[in-house]
Amino acid sequence: MRHILGVLVENQPGVLSRVAGLFSGRGFNIESLTVAETLDKGVSHITLVTTGDEMIMEQIVKHLNKLVNVIKVIDFREVKFVDREMALIKVKAEADTRAEALRITNIFRGKVVDVCQHSFTIEVTGDEGKIQAILDLLSQLGIVEVVRTGKVAIARGRKNSTKR
């Protein structure tokens, strides 16, 4: 099973490698990982997508908590949350496909952020399903390159995650 975890860490040098090293050293998977500062400059938030059965997930959460620089682990299996991902998609845009590319972008509320002679770069944000859907559609026109951020997630409702 696939799961999302939020990890609040002290903004210390090496903290990311402690988290990453934990996963590689213990044979856990990381599917995606994003990290950035929170409102508190001393604290960063990592959103991590991982896979594992119940026993492995329990171990992952416990091991993360055990790291000295980890302040808090939010297990999104236990709370309602919203998650988003952004993709930058460079799609072929020749005379006969430009209109279609733009139409698809609009339907998905994407934005064209760069235009070249033979391609558009499209920015689109959404949950995984939405990103996958636009990728499927655009692939018929010819995708040159895709860069995705990986998920970020936040608990719904009142302060549960990034505020300490």
Binding site: V9, E10, P13, G14, S17, R18, G21, G25, M55, E58, Q59, K62, H63, N65, K66, L67, V68, N69, V70, I71, R164
Partner: protein, 562 residues
């Protein structure tokens, strides 16, 4: 007043009550060593930094306090890695200070630069690179606190040269605040009650205790619990000494080379009470068949140890001593009815197992049996020695035949299985207890891995007694070759060996040898009587094997008995 990093370093060690450092200097540490004589601290100069780490570890295991070592950058630092990993696997509190190139040069492949913080990240509980002298006091304070609190472990602090010689205002932080570090030490009362209910229902309960009992100083409570529940007790290698071996409820060690009765008990128990142990594969054997009919209670300070490989029914996170005290309170408040009668069939069964296959060997009058040497060491030291071991058969015979009764009297590399650990660990313990008898039960292979520390023992008047069970083999590996590889003794023969007696003499120690069983006792007596470090070379039966043995991957009850 402003102090240099070097001065702050020593002020902090003083505040932490450090009495001895094991170390070896180098370029980036010159300022620190220059400052050292002005402070009231003992420095023991090692001959290899692996030795320094093991000495700090041996000191820590024997005393329960934090062991400290100090080494230079680059090769000095990398030489400690085996010692750090050894302490990490066995949860031993040490602080390793490493010199580092000046901060401005870090990352430049400077002379004697190594990314030791990166290298040791997976084998320390936590580590630090001090980038600013203003952080130094806080970091040292945190390092000591982290080392001994919660689940103990090694901490490394990397000290760049410029941090050591820059001045700043010194204030030793009274309080520690680490947002991300709050170990659970108090056991949850609700869980303790659940555990006691299960204990009340059990017909064939047993206690399986590990190193956590030693590190939380809970041996007294363990004994009380065993007695008050009339519950037999086994321990892991790391737990030996946590329960007195001569006790009627003592099952002996369990696991790959555990006793027949301990392993049979695990196979038949209906309630396994695990205390400060971590279900290591050398203990569980084949996982599906480990304690197949048992409910499992697991007390441990580290939540990651619980349900890691064996599903636990009643987890209790907390300090072992705290948990045991709470359990004992419940026993006192509501004792189990007819305890004697309820337990009798189970204890009778265990007695039968004990009589069927006791630990045994036969000492004939030609070749010395290694087990006999260990028993003689036990006898002649009246069980009062601090025993360090190397790794291999020597370690298992020490575990089986030196009947440990007190915690902190066995120093052995359980988790990592580090050959070369024993001699420096013994030296570390002897530095803490100059008047006690400290013995390294060694193999002829292992002893050569840190033999250079003999001179450290001689120089510092640390009269450790090394007893080499010289079987002229890397014996434990040879045993596997004998049993599972048709005696293909590839690369395990050590017949070409140094003369250990002469070697001892070359170091200025005493060298003694025994070839015959009837020489064993007099050699040991002479060694114990000597004020010097001693190497005893016991030429033992080369093809002796350690039994019982559970082959790797087999169930615990499938033991080879001879």
């Amino acid at each position: 007043m402003k102090l240099t990093g070097a001065q702050i370093f020593f002020e902090c060690l003083k505040a932490e009550g450090v009495e001895v450092i094991f170390g070896l200097p180098g370029g980036v540490l010159l300022d620190l060593y220059d400052e050292m004589p002005k402070h009231d601290i003992r420095h023991i100069l090692v001959r290899h930094e692996q030795g320094a780490a093991h000495m700090a570890d041996g000191y820590a295991r024997a005393t329960g306090r934090v062991g400290v070592c100090l080494v230079t950058s680059g090769p000095g630092a990398t030489n400690t890695v085996t010692g750090i990993a050894t302490a990490y696997m066995d949860s031993i509190p040490i602080v390793v200070f490493t010199g580092q190139v000046p901060t401005a040069l870090i990352g430049n492949d400077a002379f004697q630069e190594a990314d030791i913080v990166g290298i040791t990240r997976p084998c320390t509980k936590h580590n630090y690179l001090v980038k600013d002298v203003r952080d130094l006091a806080r970091i040292i304070r945190e390092a000591f606190y982290l080392a001994h609190s919660g689940r103990p472990g090694p901490i490394l602090v990397d000290l760049p040269k410029d941090v050591i010689n820059t001045k700043t205002e010194f204030k030793y932080p009274k309080k520690i605040s680490m947002k991300g570090y709050k170990p659970t030490t108090e056991a949850h009362m609700g869980q303790i009650k659940r555990a006691y209910t299960a204990i009340g229902k059990a017909k064939r309960p047993m206690i399986y205790a590990g190193g956590g009992v030693i590190s939380s100083n809970a041996a007294k409570e363990l004994k009380q619990l065993g007695e008050q529940l009339r519950c037999p007790v086994t321990t892991t290698l790391m737990g030996l000494g946590g329960f007195p071996a001569p006790h009627e409820l003592w099952l002996g060690m369990l696991g790959m080379h555990g006793t027949f009765r301990a392993n049979m008990a695990v196979g038949n128990t209906d309630l396994l009470i695990a205390i400060g142990a971590r279900f290591d594969d050398r203990v569980t054997g084949k996982l599906d068949e480990f304690a197949p009919s048992a409910k499992i209670i697991h007390i441990d300070i580290d939540p990651t140890s619980i349900s890691k490989n064996v599903k636990v029914d009643i987890p209790i996170v907390g300090d072992c001593q705290d948990a045991l005290k709470k359990l004992l309170q419940l026993v006192k408040e509501s004792p189990i009815d007819d305890l004697e009668k309820v337990r009798k069939p189970w204890l009778d069964q265990i007695q039968k197992w004990k009589e069927t296959y006791p630990l045994a060997y036969e000492q004939k009058d030609n070749l010395i049996k290694p087990q006999y040497v260990v028993e003689k060491l036990y006898e002649l030291s009246e069980g009062k020695g601090i025993i360090a071991t190397e790794v291999g058969q020597n370690q298992m015979w020490a575990a089986q035949y030196y009947h440990f009764s007190e915690p902190r009297t066995l120093l052995t590399s359980g988790g990592l299985g580090t050959m070369g650990y024993g001699l420096p660990a013994a030296i570390g313990a002897q530095a803490a207890f100059p008047d006690r008898l400290v013995i390294d039960v060694a193999g002829d292979g292992s002893i050569q891995m840190c033999i250079q520390e003999m001179i450290t023992a001689v120089e510092n008047n640390l009269p450790v007694k090394v007893a080499i069970l010289n079987n002229q083999y890397l014996g434990m590996v040879r045993q596997w070759q004998q049993l599972f590889y048709e005696k293909n003794y590839c690369a395990t023969c050590l017949k070409i060996a140094p003369d250990f007696v002469k070697l001892a003499e070359a170091y200025g120690a005493l060298g003694l040898r025994a070839h015959k069983p009837d020489e064993v006792e007099s050699v040991i007596r002479e060694a114990f009587a000597s004020p010097k470090p001693v190497i005893m070379d016991f030429v033992v039966n080369p093809e002796e094997c350690v039994y019982p043995m559970v082959p790797a991957g087999a169930a615990m009850t499938e033991m080879l008995l001879a």
